[in-house]
């Protein structure tokens, strides 16, 4: 773009205006492109995620101390995104819920054990909520909002340096997209054309603060333009859309075409975490919460799968019951597991 002309009869000034294109797809078409196994797999994972979330709530009510940030209503995002990954791919998750954990293959038994700080957990009880699993490609869950974003960029850098074909999906919320880490992380991924997918779950609130008051853009996906990367804004409660969009981004990344920013519009049914008792009628209007609860991601996929005869009322009940049983077993396992020995807390600072 030529901007400097050194004189002449005309002066050109460039004004930036945002352009968002809308592309329509046939729902049936996109559904048909996903295998029945994968559709059922993702459906079951959403059910299991919700069951796990409810189990955590129940345990908190019993008095257990667990770090949780409810995913109720937001199951589709990470489950759909992880559904499009290979086992050898990586994710760099954040604090919101455990959909990404279950989506990437964590067993609720060892997940819950870790959350309780027991030695049978994924991180021997030392991480609690800040867990990861190297084998599953879940590379940690930092406690500093947004710090993981440029680290995820770095995973992409490592993938490129090692000549691998993998990708890394970085999950975060609308709040984190305002931190310098987001901006540095996206700029770096863009200039180096890294195989990273930045997956922003915009549920419009960061703790008690509305995105309207804190975020300079109405659509976080718009920030893609500032970092010269592909950007999408999609329905965060529609797992078909999520799977489709993420798959495209993954294919681009594997082909060496660089990073993508995906913004999903979604909503959390519950508070930021258990101590947030003012999320219904407090900092969020009741009508807003109620209207979003109508857009249940699980019910939406149920409809799709009933349509193509992959599910019926009986199967749905079976899956839900199985999930609840699974979480009961997880609770028993976690509660009955031991804590690490005191000396174990003094180990693993340095690697050999």
């Amino acid at each position: 773009m030529k901007v400097c002309f050194h004189g002449g009869s005309e002066i050109e000034i460039f004004r930036i205006k945002e352009k968002i294109d809308k592309v329509k797809y046939s729902r049936d078409d996109l559904v048909s492109k996903i295998s029945p196994e994968k559709l059922l797999f993702m459906y079951k994972n959403m059910i299991r995620t919700r069951a796990f979330d409810n189990k955590l709530k129940a345990m908190l009510n019993k008095g257990f101390s667990i770090s949780e940030h409810s995913t109720l209503g937001q199951e589709a995002g990470p489950i759909g995104a992880c559904g499009a990954l290979e086992p050898s791919d990586y994710i760099m998750p954040y604090h919101r819920g455990w959909a990404w954990a279950i989506g990437k293959g964590m067993d609720p038994k060892y997940l819950l054990a870790e959350l309780l700080g027991k030695r049978t957990g994924y991180c021997k009880g030392k991480a609690a909520a800040h867990l990861g699993s190297y084998e599953l490609g879940i590379l940690g869950r930092s406690g500093v909002q947004s710090a993981h974003i440029p680290i995820g960029t770095g995973v992409g850098l490592g993938i490129k340096r090692l000549g691998k074909n993998n990708v890394c999906i970085v999950f975060f919320g609308d709040g984190a997209s305002n931190n310098g880490n987001f901006h540095e992380g996206l700029n770096l991924a863009s200039i180096w054309k890294l195989p990273v997918i930045f997956f922003c779950e915009n549920n419009s609130y960061a703790l008690f603060s509305s995105a309207k008051d804190t975020t300079s853009v109405a659509n976080i996906g718009s920030r893609a333009v500032g970092y010269d990367m592909e950007g999408y804004i999609i329905d965060g409660n529609d797992i078909i859309s999520i799977y489709h969009t993420t798959s495209k981004a993954i294919a681009r990344a594997r082909a060496g075409e660089g990073p993508t920013l995906i913004e999903t519009k979604t909503y959390r049914w519950d508070g930021h975490n258990a101590i947030d008792k003012i999320h219904y009628g407090g900092y969020r209007p009741k009508e807003e919460v109620d209207s979003w609860k109508e857009k249940c991601p699980i019910r939406l996929l149920e409809k799709d799968l009933i349509n193509i005869n992959l599910l019926d009322k009986v199967k749905i009940e079976e899956i839900k019951l199985k999930a609840e049983k699974e979480m009961d077993i997880a609770e028993k396992f976690a509660v009955e597991s031991e804590y690490p020995a005191k000396e174990e807390y003094l180990t693993d600072v340095f690697a050999c």
Binding site: A127, H130, L139, G140, A147, I149, T153, R161, C168, E184
Partner: protein, 325 residues
């Protein structure tokens, strides 16, 4: 015939050798293909542009990126153009790099990251944000190794160890040392962490110092010797792991301790060393432990002004005389 090379060339050799030895070692930093300090300039000719990456001005971001790359099996060496920027990037260094392995319960999680905190210290009139000695800040956090050589021989051996170490290492390079010449063998060698060097033997006072300050101490040693005061100069070379044994051996001989650093005296590394000695070997100490450090002000911008803030050779001589009575 022993060959002499500069500190900068010693570092360059360490980096080149390690990059040849292990193709997963790569470099990131601002302008490193040209190299402000003369260490990494032109390495892209041998190793390629994508192994000698130019970063934007995003210290917290590119150190974080290095962490991510390290987690999955590469060995990045990040250069911070001035060590002061460790403070800018402190979240990535202290909250992420240092804690990552522990956070995830160990196992396969490790961060084999070397951060070259270049252009450290005072002496070129570079102003308050380009002249600090910040090592005291970073010895405070579990999960970081702190390496701070004062000679070309130590620089090469310690940097090789740092690069091979599977943990985050902050490697300080004082800006006045880059041009310093010293004997460096051509043959392969490394220096382990946690092993101090005795720069000069003496019976009267144990003086602990590192980096550029150590050279000022050695100058002071000559002057003191003329007044029949013989100081023993211990250069820890690594502030964590710290070699207590060599220090304690020396104290048992001299019974006096002076610690000299270019960092601010208040809350300096000297406070930690004095604390260790007071706690573990106080019976061997016959005089108050003396700490010498920079005055309690930011560093003035001129070459003239900064001289009054960091310890001078005279300050060191004076401090040593104060413990001899």
């Amino acid at each position: 015939m022993d060959r002499e090379i500069t500190f900068a060339v010693a570092l360059r050799e360490a980096i080149s050798e390690e990059m040849r030895r292990d193709k997963n070692v790569f470099l990131l930093g601002e302008d490193i293909r040209y190299s402000v300090w003369g260490v990494t300039g032109g390495l892209n000719k041998e190793f390629g542009d994508d192994r000698v990456l130019h970063t934007p001005i995003s210290e917290n971001g590119f150190i974080s990126a290095a962490i991510g790359a390290a987690l999955i099996g590469t060995k990045p060496i990040v250069e911070l153009m001035y060590s002061d920027f460790l403070i800018l990037a402190a979240d990535s260094v202290i909250n992420e790099a240092a804690k990552y392995r522990y956070m995830c319960g160990g196992g396969k999680f490790k961060v084999p990251l070397t951060i070259r905190a270049a252009g450290a210290g005072t002496g070129t009139g570079s102003g308050l944000h380009h002249s600090q000695s910040v090592e005291a800040t970073f010895i405070h956090y579990p999960g970081l190794k702190i390496v701070i050589p004062s000679t070309p021989y130590d620089a090469k051996g310690l940097l090789k160890t740092a690069i091979r170490d599977n943990n985050p290492v902050i490697f300080f390079e004082h800006k006045l040392l880059y041009g310093k010449r010293g004997v460096v063998p051509k043959e392969e060698y490394t220096i382990p962490f946690g092993k101090a060097a005795i720069r000069r033997k003496g019976k009267d006072i144990t003086v602990v110092s590192w980096s550029y300050a150590c050279h000022k101490v050695l100058e002071a040693a000559e002057r003191l010797s003329q007044e029949n005061i013989e100081i023993e100069v211990i250069d820890p070379r690594t502030l964590f792991p710290f070699d207590k044994e060599t220090l304690f051996q020396s104290i048992k001989k001299t019974n006096r301790l002076v610690i000299v650093e270019d960092g601010v005296k208040r809350g300096g590394v000297g406070s930690e060393i004095a604390g260790i000695v007071a706690e573990e070997i106080i019976a061997e100490i016959d005089a108050p432990i003396k700490r010498v450090g920079a005055k309690d002000v930011p560093i003035p911008g001129s070459r003239y002004g900064e001289k009054f803030i960091v310890p001078s050779v005279e300050d060191i001589v004076k401090a040593c005389k104060e413990v001899i009575f």
